[in-house]
Amino acid sequence: MLNLIRMDFYRLKHSNAFITMLILTAATAFLHILALWYFSDVLLKGLGDSDEIIIGYGLSSLGINILGGKELGEILSFCMSGFFPIMYSVLLTGIFCGAEYKNGFLKNISGLYPSRSKLIISKFAVIGFQTFIIFTVYAVAVILFSVIFWFGNCRIDNFPQILGFIFVKMLLCFTLSALVQFFCVLTRGGALGITMGMLISCGVFGIFGTGLNIMVAMATRSTGFDIFYFTIKGMADKMKFDAPGKDMLWGILVAVVYTTLFTFFSILLMKKKEIR
């Protein structure tokens, strides 16, 4: 297993995609902060007496602490509320895992690991590493550019809370990567995995969840049920900087359950499928 992990890290080190994603991640963080800073005056005026302004169709809200560039935790939470950097991470997973099948390299090593489960499990080390690196680069870049743009105005109110928030978000991103790996095994390539990963991280399937929520609400005449508490992307979206502790724990539980399931099915498929 350790040999496989070493092999995967060697490939990651020589991967152009990894470097590209890191550059894209930092560039996205820069553009995010630049846009916030540039429009902050206009948006601050728009706030009026209110503490926050809703943007888009309720996709996100901008508070006084963000627009003033004051609280880094909230800025980070805002910048991570969309599909960045999750999308980059799952994209990289699709490219990385898919390449092994697409190029047929798996044939060279599958015989070394007859049980095949190690071929799946070992990938988690590299997936976890690249998720961690992408999130770290994004978080550091967001904080760094915030400090640069709002020089002297920034503060961190609750550092452990920031770490907790990033950790859960990262864990959910890791789960999404496990799903992408499952699609790579299923199709013996990266195309479907990358597409699904991108669609999910962009929230395209959210429309079905919303539809289901409406149907359940109509059937039960109650709005207590929310399917997004049971989906990876739904929970990733719910993870805010100031999310309650029970939501954070629920997020971890969702991540663990789904990761276990995707791993189990990936191993099952890997054992059954012919290696080409």
Partner: protein, 302 residues
């Protein structure tokens, strides 16, 4: 000799079709085993099952004397090149081999250059594999199979895409690794002339069925010897030969008279025909090649 690979009634089904049907082959230590068959005969599928790339629907495979789940433990002792080489195009040949070494737990950096030199890729440097020619990729695929010098190497159509010089080089590499290191090879190919130059045992497969398994000696003994001659008058020559007591005659479309009677000497034929006023333009004694034998066998099976 020790049998290091044996398949016992191995069967693989795709849908309702048996692509490999109760095949039993035996490969001994030190063999260069040639698996012969037309395209689609089931060679690759059989090799995939041996390498553990594909599951069996029936039968059993023994590796190094162990069968069933115990045999799977010996899969790391097999190096293989099945169908196309599995390589990362953006990486160099050295990096690709390094990856295989890392996965295999081989910590001898010198082995990479050694193997690249063996397959004739010692000078490629850091060029990405993606710009390699087909033949170079094939050589790299062979290098991947040889990494760690496994005890058994399975090569599926290894000379595909190689130029004549490359074919000869690969042949020599196989021969030398077999003789010097005692590596056993199983090679599938439909280029029988090449296979016949290095193999000592053969398995002939047709429509998923193993028709026969035999050694080089057995093939040359089974191969028919014939006399082939060209004359200025085919019809008259045949009449003279038949009246001289020769029964097994055949005239090909190209006008070559084939004589299969073993008793007769080529000198006697020339003399008999000369006495009958026939001019012999060409006369040769021919023995069936592996290809001839394969064609006879597959024709019979149909």
């Amino acid at each position: 000799m020790d049998c290091i690979l044996a398949t016992n009634g191995v069967t693989k089904r795709y849908g309702n079709r048996n692509v490999v049907n109760t095949v039993s082959i035996n490969v001994c230590k030190g063999d260069i085993y040639g698996l012969i068959g037309k395209n689609g005969a089931g060679k690759t599928t059989l090799l995939k099952m041996i390498c553990g790339h594909s599951t069996l629907d029936a039968g059993e495979i023994s590796l190094f004397g162990k069968a069933g789940k115990e045999a799977a433990e010996f899969l790391p002792k097999i190096g293989s090149l099945i169908e196309r080489p599995g390589i990362y195009p953006a990486m160099s040949a050295e990096d690709n081999l390094k990856m295989k070494c890392l996965a295999s737990g081989i910590n001898q950096p010198e082995i990479i250059n050694q193997i690249l030199s063996i397959v004739g890729l010692g000078e490629v440097g850091k060029k990405p594999v993606g710009i390699f020619s087909m033949g170079m990729k094939q050589r790299l695929g062979i290098a991947m199979a040889l990494t760690g010098y496994p005890e058994l190497v399975i090569l599926d159509e290894p000379i595909n895409g190689l130029d004549p010089g490359g074919i000869a080089e690969v042949r020599e590499v196989i021969r030398s690794l077999n003789q010097k290191l005692g590596i056993t090879f199983v090679i599938s190919s439909h280029i029988l002339e090449e296979l016949s130059k290095i193999s000592n045992r053969y398995g002939i497969i047709e429509n998923g069925v193993l028709l026969r398994e035999m050694t080089t000696q057995e093939i040359s003994m089974a191969g028919r010897t014939r006399i082939e001659l060209k004359t200025n008058d085919i019809q008259k020559a045949c009449t003279i030969l038949q009246s001289a007591g020769l029964k097994s005659l055949n005239v090909t479309e190209e006008g070559v008279i084939q004589i299969f009677d073993r008793v007769i000497d080529s000198g006697d034929i020339t003399m008999t025909l000369s006495l009958g006023g026939i001019k012999v333009r060409e006369i040769i004694v021919k023995t069936d090649t592996l290809e001839d034998y394969f064609l006879q066998l597959t024709e019979k099976s149909q």
